[in-house]
Each structure stands twice: as C-alpha cells, then as structure tokens.
Amino acid sequence: MADVLLEVEDATKTYHSRGETTAALKGVSLVVDESPATIACIAGESGSGKTTLANSILGFTQLTSGTISYRGTNIATLTRSQQLEYRRDVQAVFQDPFGVYNPFYRIRRLFDVLIKRFRLAQSKAEARELIEEALNVVGIRGEEVLDKNPHQLSGGQRQRIMMARAYLLKPRLIVADEPVSMVDASLRAMILDVMLRLRDERGISFLYITHDLSTAYQIGDDIYILYGGELIEQGRAQEVIENPQHEYAKLLIGSIPVPDPSIRWNREPHSQAG
Amino acid sequence: MSPVRGVRFEMSKQRTPRGVNASLSRRTFLVRSVGIGIAGTSMASILSACQDSSGGPAGDSLRAKTVMFDITTGRVDSPELFNPLVPGVNIQQGLHQAVLEPLFILNHETEEVEPWLGESFEPNDTLDVWTLTLREGALWSDGEAFDADDVVFTIDLLRNGPAELLHSAPMKQWVQSVTAVDPRTVEFQLVGPNPRFQLDYFSVKITNSVPILPAHIWQGQDPLTFTNFDKERSWPVFTGPYRLTKASPTEFIYERRSDWWAAETGVMKLPEPERLVWVANETEEVRVARIADHQLDSVADITAGAFISLQTRNEYAAAWVDEEPYSWVDPCVRLLSFNHTVQPWNDRELRWAVNHAIDRDEIVAIAYEGATTPARFFFPSYPQLDKYVDLLESEGLFEEYPLLEHNPDRAIEILERKGYTKNGEFYEKDGQPLQLRIDTPSEITEIKRIAQVIVEQLRRVGINATSNGLAYATWSDNVANGQYEAVTDWGACGSVSEPWSSMQLYHPRWVVAPGQRANGNVVRWTNQQYGENVDRFAELPLDDPQIETHVVAAARAWLDDLPFIPIAQAKKLVPFDSYYWEGWPSQSNNYVQPPTWWQSTHKILQNLTPANR
C-alpha cells in the first residue's frame, strides 16, 4: 500500500451571502499518494469547486466541514512552525503566469526570498547553486532570466520559473491550478513535461487542477471529476476517460473536440445535408 | 397683506436701484436670462413692459421723495419681529430711527438732553425720585393717547418680567416703584440716588434707550415671544412719524404718516422725506458701490480706503469731516488692557514701558489709515469730557505722566532698569523671555488691526509680543473671566457727557478672582485710592463743580498705575450722499451726531430737505 501524502475527507465548503447559501464543495474525499509520486487530476468545469478545493488545500480558505490531512495531520490544526513546514512541503503553481509575479521586483528575488525564509543555503554560492539547479530542472538558464523584470519574460518561461520556484523548496506536493490554461498550445507540453519529470525524477506528487480533461488524460495518474461541488467520477486516468460511469462524465468527455476532421460531431439533423 | 401688495406693484414700476449699477447691458442681460431661464417670450415681454414704465419720471420722483438707508447689521434674519425687548430683534432696520421714538435725545454735539416724547425728567435733591413729564398730545400711531400709563406699564414689565428681556436689568436694579401721577406725569422711586438715571436709560446716550411700549397692545402678551407685528393691523404701533409698509430680510419700507402727533401739536414739523427705505447690504463693496450710484443716501461705518474710493466716484458723498480723519468719534475708546493677575504685567513700570513703546500716531496712520485720532485718556473726545481731560492737562498730570509720549528709549531704559537683558531680538529676565500675548476678537477687524500694529511696535523695543485672534465668544468670555494676558478692547465704554460712567468701571469693588466672571474691571485692577475718589462723585448731580476735583484725584491714581492704555478714539466713518437729500449732519452742521443706526436719527430726519436735482 502506498503512503498517503494528502488526504481530503468529506470536504464541504459553503458560502453565505445575504441569506443565500451556495455550496462550493459537497463532501469531497480524495487521496494523493506520496510514493510512488502521483499526478492526481481534479477536473471539472467552471463552478465545479475545483479551485475552492485547491485553495483549501493551500490554506487560503477554510473548509466548512471535513478535513484535509497532510501526512496524517489535519492542516487546520498545524502549529506555527508546522505551518511553515507545510508551506515548504506543499507548493503551488497558478493559472495566471503574469499575476503571480510582483512587477516591482526582478526574478531573482523570487528565489532569494525563499532561500532566506526557509534557510535553504548557508552561503551565497550554495544559494546560487540551488537556484541554478531548480532552473535547470525546468530547462532555463539562470543568467538569462534572473536579472530580468517579469514583463520581459514569455508566458512559457514564467510558468516554468514558477515550477522552478516551487521545486526549489523540494516539496512533496505541488498544487498546480490550471498551469497551462493561459499558455499557448505549442508551449503547453513543455510545462506538462516538467511536471512529469518532477514526478518521475524527483518524486514530487502533483494535484493537477484543470478544466481540460485531455491534458489530464495525457499526464494524470488518477482523475477526479467534480461537478457542482460533488465528486462524480474517480479512478485511474485511463479508466475514467475510456470508460466513464457517470452521465455527466460521459457528456463531458464526449464534448471534447477531437483533432481529427474525419470524426466530426453530428450536426443538427436538418442541417446535415450541407 | 394689502399694503405690501401695493408696494410691490409700485416697486416694479419704479426705476429701482438694483445691484451695483443699472446699466443697459445689465438690463439686456436680465431680459435675456429671464427669457432663457424661465422660458417664453411672454415673460420677457412682460418684463420689458415693466422696464419701459420704470424709466419714466414717476420712478425718479418717488426716489426723490425717498431716503435710502443702509441696514448696518446686514441681512435681517427675523424681518417680522418688532419686539424691542428680545435679542432677535433688529431695531436698526428703521424701527427705532423712524417708528419707535425715545423720550429724550442726548445731543452729543451740544451735550444737551433734548426733549422728544418726554418734556422733562427731573430728580429731587437726593436724586432718588425722578419725575418724568410727557409731551402734551402725544399719540400712538393707532390714535390712542401716549400717556403715563404706558410708561408705568413698560417699566413694570421690565421690572417684574423675565430677566432675559433687554433693558430689564437696570430697571430691576434701580426702580423701586413707578407711578402715574397724572396722564402726563410719572414718578420713579429709585432704590438709591442716581444722578444719571435719565441720561443712561432714557436719552439715547449710546445707540438706543429704554423703549416705551403701548400698554393697550402689549397687555397680556408674553414679552419674550410677542412679535409685535401684524400687517393687517399696521403693527408695530409706536409713536413715530412713519409707518412700516414692507418688511423683508433685505428691505424695510416706511411711509410717512401725516397724522404724526408732533406735527399735529406743532411741536415739530412733519419730516420732508415721504418714504424711508432701509436696505441690507452684504459687504462694504456693495455699500460703497450703491452710495456711489446714489442708490443709498447714507451707509454705515466704512473704512477710510473705501471712503476715499467713494469720493472719487460720487462728488456728493461727504463724511463728518471733509479731510482726515473724516470720521466722527464713537463713545468707546480703544484700549490695550492688561490682566493684573498675570506676571509680569501687573507691574506698573512695565505697563509704562509698553506705553512709551507705543506710537499712537502710527497706529492711527496704519490701523485706521488715518481715520481717527489718538486717545489722550479713556474718555471719548466729546466736549464735556474733553473739558475734564483738558483739566488733567492743566493740572500738569500729563507732564508727570507723559501718556502720549512715544519714547522707545525710555521704554528700553525701564526694561533694563527692571533687570531685563536682551537676548537676541528680545528681552528676558532670569531666563524668562519678556512676552506679551494680545488676544483680539477676530471678527472685529478694527480691534485686530490695532493689536497688530502694537505688536510690531513692542517687538521693535524688544518685547516679544504676539497677537492672537479668538472667536468673539471665546474672547469675550476670556476677558470676563480674566483668562488672558492682554487684550485690545473697548472696556471703558460708558461716559458720554459725564465722567463717572466710564471711571466707575474700574472700581476695585468689581474685582473678582480669575476664573470668575467679572461684571466690570475685567483687568482686575485694585486701587483703593482710585475707588474712593470715584465713589466721591458717584451721587453728585451731574453739574456739581466738585466732580472736577475727584476726577483729577482718580485720574492721578489711574495714571500712576496705568492699568490699561488708551490707544485711539473710536472712529465711525459715516458717509452721506447729498444728491437727493441735503441737511445731513457734519462737523460744520453739527446739530446732532451722525450715526443713522442710532435712535437719534429722528433728529436727522427733521433736518433733511430735498436737493431737487
């Protein structure tokens, strides 16, 4: 049996505003394994609750009920020092590769701050090595980017640097919230590839949150499909995609356009003649 | 309602003075803006029709029959209030100049108390019983007789009525009883001798006097809330030669009554102006602009600079004096007062040092732009009082105590003798800088400007003086409670024709501890010798020759200590326009004092004649 890295149990989150109650998450449970490192995909359309789930895991929002346990400890009960530890172990990459950079600072600071705060290095030289290594993992050379301002970089570069940043802490889990949805298709593979490599070579697990089932299918180990805050389908990636059980999951998978003009969608019956 | 409507009709027909000028372009604008603003050519045509008729001779002739006065206090918040006993009333919108007549009028020029509604007011030998005789045939404007009962009613109302009523305090204080001996005779039994009973309360000594009310109207009214106004019944009812026909916040119109009692009885002639108008003017600019255009015949006190610019615009404009200082002297001398409970200014020598540092001529030249004269003493410069000051001079007091001497060297000498040494710009002693903070009421520009010049003069000799403006309420409270170092004020105000009123204000009996409200002697100066001498002539008849000796003795004590420093005579620069009306008072035609906001205006109205230009 694999070690459990992160376990979400019966997570429920409701929002109250002016008498109206909306449930973003309804009793969601899932498990991310530590070893072997896993890419667990949370897939769903907008409003399905996947981002709420990510935020809860990252500690940005509190669950209404249910628990999130990290290596057996409920993250809501972490002490201050444990929290820092948790931050170190669980990192994230976000959707928007532009907003995550503070425009005021150069790229270097992103790494320096982490090294200082988590005391990752004893010397400057060691710090430099750590940064180079992290950037190497994502295929970027430090001197090309470190002294630049964020707006001087491309989207693909930014998202990869974010990966490098997360990697710098040698985390056990990276929550990747739509990391490729704002990146051009031709660059998407590059980022997904980094994820695969981090899983395979560095043993880092991922919680890959996406609306795009096809990328989940391509790199995911497990897939969880959320719909309206509920978990409607889960299992090994292959199984979920090829043999979905839930009606909505079938609809969802069936709606994904196939890049093959020979297998076209059915047109409306009366317009088929065209 | 009806009289007002009538007026409104007339007003729209005449060429009314409006705004600064009535030039054509402005009229065109007016038509345009009405046309656009209210929309519709009909409106504009009505208006232009009105204008056509307004240019006619009828309008001008009405103006020629009208005297236009300035409401010196500005806009009237309560235009329908004619109760002269409450604070909200504005009696200066014509009420007490044209309608409410005084019993007597003190002529500041002759210093005679002249009869008006009263014929005589005589004390007994002990000065505690005063007998008032009224004129024969005096009538209220509604035809009722003006008689002793009205006087008794009024005095009793003030004696027994609420303490809030104006004029009630002195009546409560002095009058033991008042009785009507016969319809024309009233006897006042006072609580003690008072040689100034008539002068102080019934003769328009300053501004106004105790009003006599028609008993038949006031009977049963709440004197605090009664408005005394009713358009239908032509209220207010008083005895004067004019009747109110319009009251708005900015304009009051009075029409002449042909049935005025004094004309009927032949005591006085009917005034020539048929119509009197009091108009509120927002700023000095407006006042001056209007009198420059002959839209006003008389305006309130204005600054010298404004008067000079007025003279260049209106050749008919004149003031009391043809040249500097132009102004007439008001009874309240401007002072620099020290708080005698505050170190080191309770030291007479320091006060004298200040006196020598002060250059009164410069104050007059700068703070007044030449519109007044330096004060020799704390009396206003009126003939009767000047006599006393001349007496002090001839007695050699001013040689002994050179009050008017501007001598900075002497000031410095005193300071250094007192052990003050100069540290940089200013003197100090024992590490304590010599400071003087002069508080001024910031609303009253004149008082403030005096302080500003004094400050500069004191700083020149090395006294670190500053002036500090305070809200009037704060300032007057501070003064009364003795919470100040020095102030510029007019606290010696009281004497007009006899010396006691002002002198007694600084009697040691009024001294109270700081923090308590002083009812006089706000400087908290205790000089028993002064007090005794003032007391010695308190109850002497006003013409008693012994008064002189006591005044000299008291003045010596005062000069020796110099508890406060008289700075300048109070000026009132009152311009008149003789384009429509002649006979305005002036120094060369000084039949009465010139302020047209005083009750003595009744006398001015008697002297006006149309210029027929």
């Binding site: 995550v100 600072y105 988590f118 | 600019e285 609303e443 403030k448 500003q452 500090n468």
Partner: protein, 301 residues
C-alpha cells in the same frame, strides 16, 4: 518542406509593450515644477528679501506694484493697507500654506496606510468598522464642520490648523488604499507570497506597498491639495492662524478691506495667483500619478 518562420534576435528590451518609464509623465513633471517654484520662492526668497516686511507697519501703506503709477522699487509688488510688503507676504505665505498642506498630507497618508491596509487586508469586522468610519467622514460636509470647529478652537497655529483639517482628510486615502489592497489581496503574487510563508507585515509592506506607490503618492498629493484647499478656505473666512501671514489670511484681509473695490488687485491677486499655481501644480501631479498608476489613462491627449 521549408520553414518560413523568420528568425531574428529578439532582445527582450525591445518588447513593443515596454513603456518608457511611466514616471516620466509630462503632467507630473510640469506639476512638480510648479510646486517646486513655490517651494523655491519660500526657500530662496528670504535670502533675497526681508521677510520681516510681512509684518504690519513695516512699509508704507497701499503702494501699487513698481510698474504702476505710484509704485516703488522698494516694494516691487506693492503693499497693503496695514503696511505689509506684498513680496514679503508671498515669500512667507506661500511656504506656510504649503506646509499646512504637507502636514495634512502626511497625517492623512499615514492614517490612510494604517487603516487602509488593516481594512483591506485583514477584512472582517475591522474592515466594516474602518469602512463605515471612512464613508462617514467622506459623507459629512467636512468644510462646514471644519468651520464650526475652527471657529471654536481658535488657538490656531499652522500645526493646529493642519490637525483640524486632517480630521476629515484621512478618509479619502484610507478608502483608496483599502480598495487597492482589497483588489490586490487576491492577486497572484500576494497569494504566492503567502505560499512562500511571508508574514502579513511582509506581504503588506514588501509585496503590496511598492506597487501601491503611485496610488499612495496620488493620495498624498490629493490629501495635501485638499488640506490646502480647506485651510485656505478657513483662512479666507478669517478662521486661520493669525500670526502667520498665510495666503488665505492675506486674501481674508483683502476681502475685509474691500481691496477689489479699491482697485488694489495686487493685494488679493498675488496670493490668488500663487494659490492657483499651487493648486494647479498639485492637481497636475496627482493626475500625472493617476496616469502612472493607471496605464489606461496614459497616452491620451
């Protein structure tokens, strides 16, 4: 099969959207220049001119500027009716007026930063309280109340004056900063900083503050200008400091003495011109800063 993609060197610096430094904004520069001129008048003026001439009775009365008939080169800008030299009044009045504004600006921006950050970042009840207070302060007809207050509290120096005015001036910056912080709180890099274990203080001052600088500067200038406006207003009603010849006091004196009627345009005109320069200068600075903070407003005529 050939590739048609043009290969050229693409140095990042030539990225088309890369703007010229936004701080090099014409409005900002012109405005700063205008205010600097006033500051220089205040700083250098006393070296060339005797400011003691701003005291009453120091000069002849009612002189026009030197180029008008009757003017004197001893008093190049003329004098007023208490014998104050207009040049000296301007030299000592302009910085006094600016100083009031600056104190108000500093007070409001400090309060604004503290309250705005607390409200925007911490949220919850603190936010509701601060927001309500700020909204209230913005709703209240401040000048009317200021007039009331300063007519009662008359022990006024420049500092007191500034404090009174600041009573209401903090609300604007507070609201502005709160709104910015609120919108920034959910920004990627703030989340990123939290993820990096940054403390609240670090997030506020190291992550958010630098990006708020143009807003802070604009709020500061706005509060300064508002402070001067209120102070000059009060002074012109005669409710200002009495000893210091601020520009507003000079205008008040001119109004009191019918300067317009008397044709003494220099008396009220000079302080007015200086005030206009100050106000327009500050206004340009603040619109310039707005454009710095909000690039969409940039580049339009």
């Amino acid at each position: 099969m050939t590739l048609t993609v043009q290969q050229t060197v693409a140095p990042a610096e030539t990225t088309p959207r890369r703007p010229r430094s936004p701080w090099r904004n014409t409005k900002l520069m012109v405005g700063t220049l205008m205010v600097l001129v006033i500051v220089l008048i205040g700083v250098l003026g006393p070296l060339f001119w005797d400011t003691r001439l701003s005291a009453a009775a120091s000069s002849p009365l009612n002189l026009p500027p030197f180029w008008e008939a009757g003017g004197s080169s001893d008093h190049p800008l003329g004098t007023e009716n208490s014998g104050r030299d207009m040049l000296a009044l301007v030299i000592s009045g302009a910085p006094a007026t600016l100083r009031i504004g600056l104190i108000v600006g500093v007070i409001s921006i400090v309060i604004g930063i503290v309250l705005g950050f607390s409200a925007g970042y911490l949220g919850g009840r603190i936010d509701s309280v601060i927001r309500t207070l700020a909204d209230t302060a913005l709703t209240i007809p401040a000048l009317a109340i200021l007039i009331v207050i300063s007519s009662y509290v008359r022990e006024i120096g420049i500092a007191t004056m500034a404090f009174i005015v600041a009573l209401f001036a903090w609300a604007g910056p507070t609201r502005l900063i709160r709104a910015q912080v609120l919108s920034m709180r959910e920004l990627g890099y703030v989340r990123m900083a939290r993820l990096s274990g940054a403390s609240t203080v670090d997030i506020m001052f190291k992550e958010m503050m630098p990006n708020l600088l143009p807003y802070l500067a604009a709020a500061f200038v706005g509060a300064t200008s508002g402070g001067i406006l209120a102070a000059v207003g009060l002074e012109s009603l005669g409710l200002g400091p009495q000893r210091i010849p601020t520009l507003g006091m000079t205008i008040y004196n001119a109004l009191q003495s019918s300067a317009i009627l008397r044709g003494m345009w220099w008396w009220w005109g000079l302080p007015t011109v200086i005030l206009v320069v100050i106000f327009v200068g500050l206004f340009l600075i603040s619109t310039g800063l707005d454009e710095v903070a909000n690039p969409r407003l940039r580049g339009r005529r």
